[in-house]
Symmetry: C2
């Protein structure tokens, strides 16, 4: 069965509003999360709130804390602990971003100057450490060893995933299986943990914990797959977004893996020289995209994302109908179909 994926038309389906609807649904909780974040990034060492404020304000979608908030509410939780724990999740994510930008030597994130480009790598490493520690202090104040277990384990797995990514970087022989391990660890595990603790604070049975974990994990995988597609997406480019960062760094994402494996020996020589030796010149990115299109690599990566999205969808099957459930299900479409 041939599947034609047109990112441009999907973007017009208005999927982004699924995220807006989720945000709207838990907006009161989200205000509290932001308050906890602002309050707990304070320090007498002024560079810390300055730098942390920069990345927290750049903020992005707050997708991970939103998942914690909506999961808890879907589980009929009525307390306030989830806002504090959602802030912990965001702190871990922010610490990871700070360290990532140092590791990747990035100058831009979401079109803004990265913290490391403004304050130096040193400050980014140390403020990342601070936010990470703060996150654990907040969890300790919450007092649940189970939550501490979930988030400390997730943090260890994230670091493992990042190291794994480092060891596979610039290696065109990387397999889809290895790539999947990397994105499960570095991205999807925190999505899983964010959702999981929603069930934990609500004191729900194991089956619901498992369901939310599975939802988060599979959503996270599809989220990262689409992220990797967007980095080569012509649709992105027409929207004025930067593309080609992964290509320039020689990052081996699934679109590359598929194009390489499906390519001729001549094409493989192209991939190796551009991504392993990083000897790149003008027009290379466009050629890379044309090879991906020729072999359906972007289309099939989106297809893989749909597969994990479908698993995420079915994971929530055991929960009764609710506004939160609908919003969480719609977020899957948002993740798979977003092209903004």
């Amino acid at each position: 069965m041939a599947i034609i994926v047109n990112l441009e038309s999907q973007r017009e389906k208005g999927s982004p509003s699924a995220l807006d609807r989720l945000t709207e649904l838990v907006s009161d909780d989200l205000v509290q999360v932001n308050e906890v974040i602002i309050q707990h990034m304070q320090s007498p060492v002024v560079l810390i709130p300055q730098l942390a404020g920069h990345i927290v304000a750049a903020g992005g979608k707050r997708l991970r804390p939103l998942l914690t908030l909506a999961s808890a509410r879907m589980c009929k939780y009525e307390g306030r602990r989830h806002t504090c724990l959602a802030a912990c999740v965001e702190f871990i994510h922010t610490a990871t971003l700070l360290h990532d930008d140092v590791v990747d030597d990035s100058g831009l994130r979401r079109g803004l100057a990265t913290a490391n480009s403004l304050w130096g790598n040193q400050a980014s490493v140390l403020v990342g450490d601070f936010l990470f520690s703060r996150s654990f202090q907040l969890m300790v104040a919450d007092g649940s060893l189970k939550v501490l277990d979930i988030l400390s384990s997730a943090s260890a797995v994230i670091a493992e995933g990042e190291v794994m990514q480092l060891t596979t970087s610039n290696d065109t022989e990387t397999s889809e299986t290895t790539y999947l391990e990397v994105i499960k660890s570095k991205t999807a595990k925190l999505f899983a943990a964010a959702c999981h603790i929603g069930a934990v604070v609500a004191d729900r049975p194991q089956a619901e914990e498992d369901a939310l974990q599975s939802y988060g994990l599979n959503l996270g995988i599809s989220f990262q797959l689409i992220d990797d597609v967007l980095d080569y997406s012509a649709a992105q480019k027409t929207l004025g977004k930067t593309i080609g960062d992964d290509f320039r760094e020689g990052k081996i994402s699934l679109p590359v893996i598929l194009a390489y494996r499906r390519g001729s020996e001549e094409e493989r020589i192209f991939w190796r020289s551009r991504l392993e030796d990083l000897s790149q010149k003008e027009g290379d990115l466009e050629h890379a995209i044309s090879l991906m299109e020729k072999h359906g690599a972007l289309r099939d990566t989106v297809e893989r994302a749909r597969h994990y999205g479908a698993i995420a969808y079915d994971s929530l099957g055991i929960f009764p109908q609710s506004k939160e459930k609908t919003a969480l299900l719609d977020v899957i479409d948002f993740c798979v179909n977003r092209a903004f």
Copy 2:
């Protein structure tokens, strides 16, 4: 009162054996700590145990875990939890070292190539994150929220101290008070936490917790003061150790602060150009040392270390006599008088 400090002769007093005696006293426990460390730095991502093994094997004195072990035993603790928590302390310390070497762009630590110089800054940042997460996983397995509170708070303060040090680096106007804040946070706080949890596992009254915290904090301050002296110590140089790392980086330690404040305007111009602008040439380090000697800056830094050592000594006054108490008291002399 004029106090003459002769590092050379003190080295011959055999103070190092105080650390050997402490190590000997808790040697069975220390074997277990090392086992926990080896076991928990494992990961299917091979670079992690490789890199962690490098820094853990370089190992050094294991001073911080030794403090946890001896503190717990002095408090008559008879269980095994302290070995696991001592490993947590060492993991936090190791993670800090990995990130420090990236921040300082160091090539050598204790005469060995640093992890970042062998595997790159990226791997050092990420493996540091991994060890830090592992440390929290171990604490969660131990199950004491109080210990988690102590060590997560210490970690946040360490990061704050490191950032503070970054913002004062290369600033010759840094005050002794600020410098003291930095070393309390970045070094002494973990010493304090390491000792504190010894009392916590033994379930001792608050006064004993406080006493051990105070012992650790003041020991840590004197330890760092002496570390900063050793970087300018001629005695070190005759032993074939590298000196002058702090000078080359423009680090503002107490010997510099004292020499700068006591110096003539001409001398201050020297300090500013060498440490702020880092315009250094051969013979500058020797000149810096001669200025420190002229103004008694090294001698008086040792004197300050003695002061904090004395407070550490008195902190343990409330504990009855024991082999462990004697060993902990002797370690103060080791820290103040070491010149190896």
